[in-house]
Symmetry: C2
Subunit: 308 residues, 2 copies
């Protein structure tokens, strides 16, 4: 049985950074989420769509990692979603050069029977109504529904987005999006407003500045690991989400305390993702590397203190 | 005997934020550093200069907190240094509206005899040669010399700055300044380059995004406490430096492990500073408030994790 149902794009990306550029390479939210979640040995399944131009090797690569791909629709006369972008020198901002929706334009996800009782769903960034349709196809209400979204949907489909986020447990967005969605500059206030929209947990991703988890009057913060070089930030947020949900699905513990660990695991995995172009680093990751870096996270953040 | 010698401006500020504006109020790096350090009951002394327009109440307020003010020169026919600035809506950036150097223009600090053997010096932001002259007046080499500086001196007095930072143990600068000083975007690389310039410890202040401590191959990170409202960021960096050095001077332990605690204490005190205009909040701070917020810092950052 699938413990983690992942919905999101499986795509081609073409990426330019100050360090170089790629041709069309494997990308997409569901791809990064899946690759990240597999590190917790949790049976997962991807619901997505590609065109007939999508290489079988890529599908095999996912399947070999115990990601069920029976929900990955292949449109015979369609082309795979394509995004191309260029990062600025600071690596924190980027311009979209081209977006070809292709098969995504008419994507209507069908959750395979075997996954309709998955305890955890990770809804990667997609039109909110597509995300909603996945929730509505579930036979039993999942224990945990996590939704990622972006400013684009706040601009063009705010009401649909609000309808969808009313039904989720956790929302992951970046700081600017949290401000846009809430109308509040302070992230503390923004999180409180967003919690009132539905999600009991709000995760605010701040890129190189780390991530915040809010729940009622509790807060937790995980830094991004300071790196010598950020090579390509593409997929870092999705890798974070994959680590977060993969860990939670594997432990079946959805408490705040366990979510703190999940945030650390997500941040840890994201720190690898940015070290190479695309999914390259995530495809080569060893348990030992992951553990070593978890130890670095501990050293980076843990302290003892006596009260004054 | 003074354990902590503080050098820096004692000044008037006029501040505009989205929440309001002030007339001329008490400000200056040494003021904030001193007010912050007093929370550790460490005997300190300020070396600075003001004009005859500086109110005796302000000097009394500092003296009442066991800050020795015998090194605070009062220039009879001079006017106190004045800075006025306006913060943007994001509170992370500001425009300087006016700077009147006044008595600072010819400031030549004289370290009183009684403080020439202070074990810790905190050199607040001033012309690097003024900072250097303080170091040179010490009879015994202090156990710890901490220097704060800013991009302005990198622009107009880089060689003097380099000469001075070659003689200090810790430098505190913000992220943009670390990048400017090192020529490296990555803060990890920047810190390594700056360490080669002299300081064995590099503290990079990232404002609302926290602070990093670097030392050889060790790193530590403290977040800024996420606040509902940042009212006035003026003095936050100096308050951080005052907490950092005040704690180190009080414990007389200059190890990396203790510096981690010092970074937390500095971040903790800075979180109060920004809650009101100017020094107002720092003048009213109770031990209980400080301890409660230290507990919040622990909750915000501490986690347990099992390796994968």
């Amino acid at each position: 049985m699938s413990k983690l149902l992942i919905v999101g794009t499986v795509a081609f990306d073409a990426i330019e950074t100050p360090f170089g550029k790629t041709d069309k390479i494997l990308g997409g939210a569901a791809t990064y989420i899946g690759l990240s979640a597999t590190n917790f040995n949790v049976p997962s399944a991807i619901v997505s769509v590609v065109g007939n131009d999508f290489p079988k090797e890529n599908i095999d690569m996912l399947a070999k990692r115990d990601i069920n791909v029976s929900g990955l629709e292949i449109v015979k006369d369609g082309k795979t979603f394509f995004w191309s972008g260029r990062y600025h020198n600071d690596m924190n901002s980027r311009d979209t050069l081209e977006t070809q929706l292709n098969v995504l334009e008419n994507f209507s996800p069908v959750v395979p029977e075997a996954f309709k009782n998955a305890p955890v769903i990770m809804l990667g960034n997609l039109h909110p109504l597509v995300q909603l349709s996945v929730i509505e196809q579930m036979e039993t209400r999942p224990k945990l529904i996590v939704l990622d979204t972006m400013n684009f949907w706040m601009d063009i489909a705010l009401e649909d987005l609000k309808k969808t986020i009313a039904k989720v447990d956790v929302i992951t967005i970046n700081d600017e999006e949290a401000r846009q969605l809430s109308g509040e500059y302070s992230l503390v206030k923004a999180a409180r407003i967003i919690e009132k929209m539905g999600p009991k947990y709000v995760v605010i991703k701040k890129g190189e500045h780390g991530a915040l988890l809010f729940h009622e009057d509790q807060m937790f913060f995980a830094p991004a690991l300071p790196l010598e070089e950020v090579f390509d930030p593409t997929g870092a947020g999705d890798t974070f989400a994959g680590g977060f949900t993969g860990f939670l699905a594997s432990t079946e513990d959805y408490s705040f305390k366990n979510m703190k660990k999940a945030i650390i695991h997500g941040s840890n995995l994201a720190s690898f993702c940015v070290e190479k172009f695309g999914t390259e680093r995530m495809e080569q990751l060893s348990k030992e590397e992951i553990n070593n870096r978890l130890k670095m996270f501990k050293k980076l953040t843990q302290f003892e203190i006596d009260l004054a």
